[in-house]
């Protein structure tokens, strides 16, 4: 391809026509060199592309990184990647069979996206929660900037985490093969669990998908 012809400066672009194998297939850029306002997002996505199984590394912020922004950008990335799980659930998670958002038998989750909370079917809960999270995380009122975030807005991230986590838990307890396929492709639930634990965004009791055991064995020798 012509775009391989670039010599001196690397221009990091996915131009029209780029083949899938060449998507973002460029040399890593160090965080210091990223001079855009979206540097944190770039940095996170770069780490994921490099090795999505290396959860530890992906969650390791660059030196001096503002923690609020770091958490915020990670949560954006989680919600974005959860679209992948939602796409899979849309095929399998039927409103007739999964009439309520449940994980274990103990709780029914009400969907918070409506004026009065509704007992939405699991698939609707999933979609509504992701749509609501997209609105909240892009709200000009609470997150007008992606380079500095008010503490009061950072405080909102916890509740978003709690809600989107239920998508993992529903998939795990009710669509296990689907969950496993997705998890093997993305390591997303592992990353999410470690993320909320590291930054204390959810209480441990709520992390009901038993993925941490796996994680603990993984922590020592980050396997591919």
């Amino acid at each position: 391809m012509k775009m391989a012809n670039e010599t001196a400066p690397i221009i990091r672009r996915n131009r029209p026509g780029t083949k899938n194998k060449d998507w973002c297939n460029w040399e890593d850029e160090s965080f210091e060199e990223m001079d855009s306002t979206l540097a944190v997002q770039q940095f996170i996505q770069q780490a994921i592309r490099k090795d999505f199984t290396n959860v530890e590394e992906i969650l390791n912020p660059p030196e001096g990184q503002d923690e609020g922004v770091w958490k915020y950008e990670h949560l954006r990335q989680f919600c974005m990647e959860l679209n992948g799980l939602a796409v899979k659930l849309q095929v399998e998670c039927n409103p007739e069979t999964c009439t309520q958002m449940t994980a274990t038998e103990q709780w029914i989750f009400l969907c918070a996206a409506h004026k009065t909370p509704k007992e939405c079917p699991a698939i609707d809960y999933t979609r509504h929660t992701l749509d609501g999270a997209a609105c909240l995380l892009n709200s000009n009122k609470y997150f007008p900037s992606r380079v500095s975030i008010k503490d009061s807005s950072v405080a909102k991230l916890g509740s978003v985490c709690r809600r989107v986590y239920r998508i993992f838990s529903h998939a795990y307890f009710h669509h296990r093969p689907l969950f496993d396929t997705y998890e093997n492709e993305t390591y997303l639930c592992r990353r999410f669990t470690q993320f909320v634990t590291k930054y204390n965004l959810m209480s441990k009791d709520n992390l009901i998908v038993p993925i941490m055991e796996d994680q603990q064995t993984l922590e020592g020798e980050s396997e591919a």
Binding site: M1, K2, M3, N5, I11, R12, R13, R15, P16, G17, K19, N20, W23, S36, T37, L38, Q41, Q42, C79, M80, N83, G84, V87, Q90, E105, Q106, I108, F109, L110, C111, A112, A113, H114, T116, P117, C120, P121, D124, R127, L130, D131, A134, C135, L136, L137, N138, S139, N140, K141, Y142, S145, R146, S148, K150, S152, A155, K156, S159, R162, S203
Partner: protein
């Protein structure tokens, strides 16, 4: 020289001598009419109208620029005065110390030798005339000298304030700063605070003389003549203190908000019953009890819910705040951190000013303002988008050097900070772009004030995607559009459903529907002529066919699997381009697999034809129907070649001479090809910053122009074929007059992610909307 009113500038513009680059003067235009009598009356009228609009636009731009420069001069003057005062104070201090030293020496001398030193040497230092009487005591002379300096200091400060107000700062910051400056000068800190305390208590008691006494006591002897100055000083200190007070109360309001937020969240966090129903208990209890249980949780949840609904529900709250903050901008209900950020920003700004090359550009503009007409047009060429019209004419003749010199800095700057950089960018941008969309604060300054204006300005910001927006398309009739993003989704937006924003400059829109089916980024998008279906191509190699939900749908309606009406599968790599026929039910796609395909969605075997080229042509990057020939399509390739194919046979009809007319060095692929709606012309957008026009009959080049400062990524043409819209990774979109091939307007629209900025642009087929899609996950609509 700047005082030359807009009238004279205007005159200069209209004057015969000012034709210059890319500007057609009246005489030239008359010539045109004589030479080309085929021009029709409406055509001429149209031309005159567009010319007039352009002149109007330029005029308002110059007015804005003039105000800007005046403010800058005022600022610099103020700064100079401040420096002078500082210098004076320092000199005074040195003299004071010298005097004290001499006295000490005198004492020492007297003790040692029993005689006085030469009394000449002990004469206290003299400063300014006004200060003569204060020399008895060093302390006094210091404090009063600050009083005497006050007049000039205040004047400078006033100018500074004026400047800062124009760029969006208000008194609070200035006062905070000035308090700091004064404390640095050693004039303020302790005395300032006590002063203010006193004066405030005095104000409460209404006991004016008492204050004077206190003042007098504290400062020792006072000269009556200094009273006025003192008053002034105290006044300003009062102002400082009241603004501090105001800040405090602002903090309280903010804290309250935080508190309530916390409560909201606290409930949510503590009581996990929020959104949860204990199934077991429900089963055990009777219906009624179950219902009451529901009610209870409802109460909790409702509060928790406000989080997702706060946008609506908290609007009331924020307007209340408005009132309580006594007419001040809500912006000022901020915490100290924000203020220190602003201060940082301000410092940065000042630092930046010293190094930024555009200062020369500004000076050049200043100089040319005073110069004759030639200089004036040069100035225009230097700073404004019109320069590109010059380029557009003399293609490749490197007036491009000039333009990039003038503009480069603004792109570097853009990345500085998300919402605060606009103020400092504007100084440069005012001369460079019609408006800097990136910063709403600037609106008051940069928006032309005329009632009639043909300039586009940002109206809607579409936030909801999590990653770059790759494509967008308008509904054929409604104020509705679709966006496709790297975040795997498409979103439907109704421009009539806006979120009320605190600043009127730009409205936020929330999506009414999110389309999920693609696995991976969505790269291309096409809307059917009826507006009922749309098609999206993604990295997952599929083309999805969607039934578009009604634009007044409840965003949180239940999932309807029938929204996805079908999937077109045949490509084996990312689908990068889609184009839809305006009347036939036909869709074109191009893919990283090297093929262009023609589809008829909805029929049993939808794939009608596949178009291929030799493998050395690389991969198709963009494809379009040839609008004035029902049997042809045009496709561009990474090799920078462009082919016209026969739709029926799939054979190449013609090769447009895109490659031999492009920059041969390195990567110069075509990013977009579009067909003129009525004429046999194809327009290509190139990685080498050019837009080129080709004749579909001969394949020859018609026109070529350096259109942007970086690769041109996208093109859109208005339904009448009069205007062309282009988007580029230089962060801007540009509107072009297709007759004259001149740039009518440039708008800085998006920020960069890696080296990408703008992925797509679009015209509404009927309504006066244009839109841009950015790598910054935003889409913007301009009216």
């Amino acid at each position: 020289m700047i005082e030359d009113g807009p009238g004279s500038q205007h005159g200069g513009q209209l004057g015969p001598g000012s034709g210059g680059l890319g500007m057609v003067t009246k005489s030239q235009q008359d010539d045109g009419i004589k030479q080309r009598p085929q021009y029709s009356m409406p055509g001429i009228l149209h031309f005159l109208q567009t010319e007039w609009a352009r002149f109007e636009m330029e005029r308002s731009q110059w007015e804005v620029e003039r105000a800007e420069l005046q403010a800058r001069i005022a600022f610099l003057q103020g700064e100079r005065k401040g420096q002078e005062n500082l210098k004076q104070d320092l000199v005074r201090r040195i003299k004071m110390l010298e005097y004290a030293l001499k006295q000490e020496r005198g004492k020492y001398h007297k003790l040692k030798y029993g005689t006085d030193l030469n009394p000449e040497d002990l004469k206290p230092p003299t400063f300014d005339k006004e200060n003569k009487d204060d020399h008895i005591d060093g302390e006094i002379s210091l404090s009063t000298s600050s009083g005497t300096g006050t007049a000039t200091w205040r004047q400078g400060r006033q100018l500074l304030r004026q400047y800062l107000q124009e760029i969006g700062y208000t008194d609070t910051i200035i006062d905070v700063r000035s308090a700091r400056v004064r404390s640095l000068l050693g004039l303020q800190t302790q005395s300032g605070d006590s002063d203010a305390d006193i004066s405030q208590s005095v104000l409460v008691n209404g006991d004016q003389p008492n204050k004077r006494d206190n003042q007098g006591k504290r400062a020792g002897l006072k000269k009556i003549g200094n009273l006025a100055n003192d008053n002034a000083l105290i006044d300003t200190e009062n102002a400082v203190m009241t603004t501090f007070d105001f800040l405090n109360s602002g903090n309280v309001v903010e804290d309250e908000e935080d508190l309530s937020d916390d409560n909201e969240d606290g409930i949510a966090a503590d009581d996990e019953a929020e959104e949860r129903l204990e199934r077991a208990s429900m089963k055990l209890k009777g219906d009624n009890e179950g219902l009451t249980g529901l009610d209870e949780t409802d109460a909790d949840t409702e509060e928790a819910l406000a989080e997702f609904h706060f946008l609506e529900s908290e609007m009331g709250g924020s307007s209340e705040k408005h009132e309580s903050s006594s007419g001040e901008d809500e912006e000022w209900v901020v915490d100290q951190r924000h203020i220190s950020e602003l201060k940082e920003q301000y410092k940065k700004e000042r630092k930046g000013k010293k190094t930024r090359p555009t200062r020369h550009a500004l000076q050049a503009m200043l100089a040319s303002l005073g110069g004759e007409d030639d200089g004036f047009t040069a100035g225009v060429g230097d700073g404004q988008s019109l320069a590109s019209s010059g380029e557009a004419r003399e293609d490749d003749i490197p007036s491009g050097g000039q333009i990039s010199y003038a503009r480069k800095p603004m792109m570097g700057l853009q990345d500085d900070d998300e919402n605060l950089d606009g103020g400092l960018v504007l100084g440069e941008l005012a001369g460079l772009t019609v408006n800097n969309e990136a910063d709403p604060v600037n609106y008051d300054i940069s928006a032309p004030k005329e009632g009639y204006r043909k300039t586009w300005s940002a109206k809607y910001t579409l936030r909801s995607h999590f990653d770059g927006v790759r494509a967008l398309a308008f509904h054929p009739v409604e104020p509705v559009l679709l966006t496709a993003s790297e975040d795997h989704t498409l979103k439907l937006w109704n421009l009539q459903k806006t979120v009320p924003a605190k600043k009127a400059a730009s409205l936020d829109v929330e999506p009414v529907y999110t389309f999920r089916a693609h696995v991976g980024p969505v790269l291309s998008l096409a809307m059917s002529p009826s507006g009922e279906q749309c098609y999206s191509g993604g990295m997952d190699t599929t083309i999805r066919c969607w039934n578009i939900p009604k634009s007044d749908i409840d965003p949180y309606d239940s999932f309807d699997p029938n929204v996805l009406s079908g999937t077109l599968e045949a490509h084996t790599d990312a689908v990068w381009g889609l184009s839809i026929h305006s009347s036939k039910n036909q869709l074109l796609s191009c893919s990283g697999d090297g093929t262009v395909r023609l589809w008829s969605p909805g029929i049993k075997s939808p794939l009608l034809n596949t178009f291929t080229v030799d493998s050395e042509e690389g991969v198709p990057t963009s494809v379009d129907f040839v609008r004035c020939d029902p049997n042809q399509i045009v496709a561009s390739y990474t090799s920078s070649n462009t082919y016209i194919f026969d739709m029926e046979t799939g054979a190449q009809v013609l090769m447009l001479e895109t490659k031999i007319n492009s920059d041969a060095s390195g990567s110069n692929q075509i990013n977009r090809v579009i067909s003129h709606p009525t004429l046999p012309i194809s327009i290509t957008a190139h990685e080498d910053r050019h837009i080129r026009f080709f004749d579909n009959n001969t394949g020859k080049i018609i026109h070529s122009m350096v259109a942007h400062l970086d690769s041109v990524t996208s093109l859109a043409i208005d339904p009448n074929g009069l205007y062309l819209l282009s988007g580029s990774h230089d962060c801007s979109i540009r509107l072009w007059n297709l007759d004259s091939k001149t740039c009518v307007q440039e708008i800085t629209s998006h920020r960069k992610k890696f080296e990408e900025s703008i992925h797509d642009v679009a015209f509404h087929p009927q309504k006066p909307y244009i839109a841009s899609a950015g790598a910054d996950a935003l889409a913007k609509v301009f009216v």
